[in-house]
Subunit: 410 residues, 2 copies
Amino acid sequence: MSGPARVTHASTRAAVLDLVRAAGMISRVGLVNATGLTGGTISTVVRGLIDEGLVAETGHAESTGGKRRVMLQLNHFARYAVGVHLDDARITYVLTNLGGAVVARISRAGAGADEPAAVVARVAREVGALIDSVGVERDRILGLGLVAARPAEHHEFGRAVERATGLPVVLDNDATAAAIGEHWSGGVGATSTFAALFMGSDVGAGIVLGGTTYRGPSGHTGEIGHTCLDVDGPRCRCGARGCLEVLAGPAAVVEQARADRALSRAAGLVGGRTRAATPVAADFAAISRAARQGNTRAVALLERSARYFAAAARTLANVLDLEVLVLTGPSFAIAGSIYLPVLRAELDSAFIARDAHPISVRLSPSAASAPAIGAAAIVLQSELVPRRQGLRLPDDLAAEEPPVFGQLVR
Amino acid sequence: MSGPARVTHASTRAAVLDLVRAAGMISRVGLVNATGLTGGTISTVVRGLIDEGLVAETGHAESTGGKRRVMLQLNHFARYAVGVHLDDARITYVLTNLGGAVVARISRAGAGADEPAAVVARVAREVGALIDSVGVERDRILGLGLVAARPAEHHEFGRAVERATGLPVVLDNDATAAAIGEHWSGGVGATSTFAALFMGSDVGAGIVLGGTTYRGPSGHTGEIGHTCLDVDGPRCRCGARGCLEVLAGPAAVVEQARADRALSRAAGLVGGRTRAATPVAADFAAISRAARQGNTRAVALLERSARYFAAAARTLANVLDLEVLVLTGPSFAIAGSIYLPVLRAELDSAFIARDAHPISVRLSPSAASAPAIGAAAIVLQSELVPRRQGLRLPDDLAAEEPPVFGQLVR
DNA sequence: CGAGGATTCTTCAGTTACTAAACAAAGAAA
DNA sequence: TTTCTTTGTTTAGTAACTGAAGAATCCTCG
């Protein structure tokens, strides 16, 4: 069905553009070394990028004995992207520039049980406000990334948002988005193999292998919430026993805290007896606050959870031969300082490939908005990187194509 | 450093060749549909393959209203490859043709504590005998795949084998090789995402994602032996607690059986009190035999192990969104019938993406020699598939390049 | 200050791997 | 036989490279 298969100019252009972005500032010779292409090719590709206004020449480097290199930089404010993260507890909006830097950011209460149509209208309104707040022309915005825990359920919603905002919409998983956000924000090498451990209202992992995000055949990748950590443990909603989610997920932590009268009172848990609309995230935050203020029962509770997370992270690292593990998402934004040392200790002492290469465990510098930033980054990628690379391979089935994430809807 | 970056004719040629191999028999039009290339391109690529003697025209298909399709097939006996699997207990040799079909196969005792030089000489002799047994000319053999549990330790050994046999040698992990063997032998779709759960003297998993084998940045992929299944479990040699290997690996099963006097006697365990040279595999086989003959204690022991394996397999499937899981390796060749139903039940009831797509769990039809077959398949791949595809990307470090598996040494 | 080397960047002819489209060949249906 | 369908080949054209020559810029040293 779809178009030609050869690796066209488009992919080279995207690779060069991505190098310029990743490097921050680089010369044509630098691009020659980094890509393996010849100077002539780089010359023409760069000229095209400059003509489009995506890249600009910005001064010169020091001479190394001959002509000074002309330095190139991304023209950061040439294009923009919107990222929206639908969490149960909150909806986070960011507007980023071409470099993935956040230009504007707002956060509002979650949608709860509102009518879908009302939510669409609200999202469109809030996206409009976000854009207007910095006065960017609409035609400079490449699109809108919409990420959530179960993106497949938001397909129609995405279509509606597309109609309401007039922006092309890309759907994806929030954990995957968080990983892409980390990758895009630098800090992790361009070809690195890493996972973003995500904790929001639920748990997941975004996976990037050798610089390429891995989504799996049905987009259900990185379900570490259902990593088995006790074959005889309590039963999980997935049907199995002893999953990370039931043992140590945010909902489990909150439930355990609520069962502890003294802790409930000290932390001022809002959930209490009654099942409120979106209490897990709020209560988890309250427990984390209590822990940071030295409440030993809160600390013990979170450290217990962290030990389970550490075991799951180790499993993940061993299976995928990870180089980097980043903790992101709203819940890690709050409680990361408690989880981080526990995970680090586990992976330093028991990562199987540690003799071959170290594994770096760190907390995202922007954990709370990482999924939204990633959502915007996906838009940037899907606009700047070619849709499919390489040959289309068989399994010619695909009469009814499955929903594809991380690509523009329609 | 290394060569050009564009996707050259070589990769298309390899893709077409691989399609011919995978399909068994296919027409040019079939290749057009499968690749997305035009008829003209397929025409010239196929002509090249026929000229090289790798592909042959073999009759016609029924007409569908017009000219009958000329069917193409791999010229199976145009080239050969040798696969060698170094297990602690046994060394397995196979000679396969271009299609990956086993032409000759021998199996000898493991090397134990023999001198490396002696082992090299022995391997070279036995490879020679293997080749001579079917009278294939040396120059039709593409190379020798050498797979083992820790391939990095066999680098020098591989060089020596290369010198002794005169064949180019490719090193790789045995679990990865087993996965490639399964992939190559068909049964698993060309673009499928699957894992080969491997049990020999130890435990591992070979991973193929969307048709591409995943080796990780340091080749330490699929270490499911160190999947955590009990955060408070017994300590493992990797430094952690409750790893699959200590809870349910072959060595653990054998140890548990030896502690059971009645079972030891019934199964006739050779290990007994003393630590013999390579008893684990033999004893594991004895336990499996006893279980198949209805010994309830042996059955209970293996089923207990299977439950742990099932939990680890579920974790793996959930993280990678697997479509297929194949059990391979010598130990599954013997005990697969006991493990298979337990794993199947677990994944049918608790695989998180099961609503999106089914996961098929099956036993390899050639579990015992799968790693050796895979080793040969790696040679076929590394000869017929281009080294690197796409652009070489940055992280320009790599002054001292790390050892690369799955590619020819030198 | 100006020649000569070093380095960076551009230009341009040539190559490769494709596509598109016309054409030829072979069989089916009428 | 004529006409249609399908398969496969040939040919001219094109995109995206490479390689090599040349232009531009800067440094150094007499």
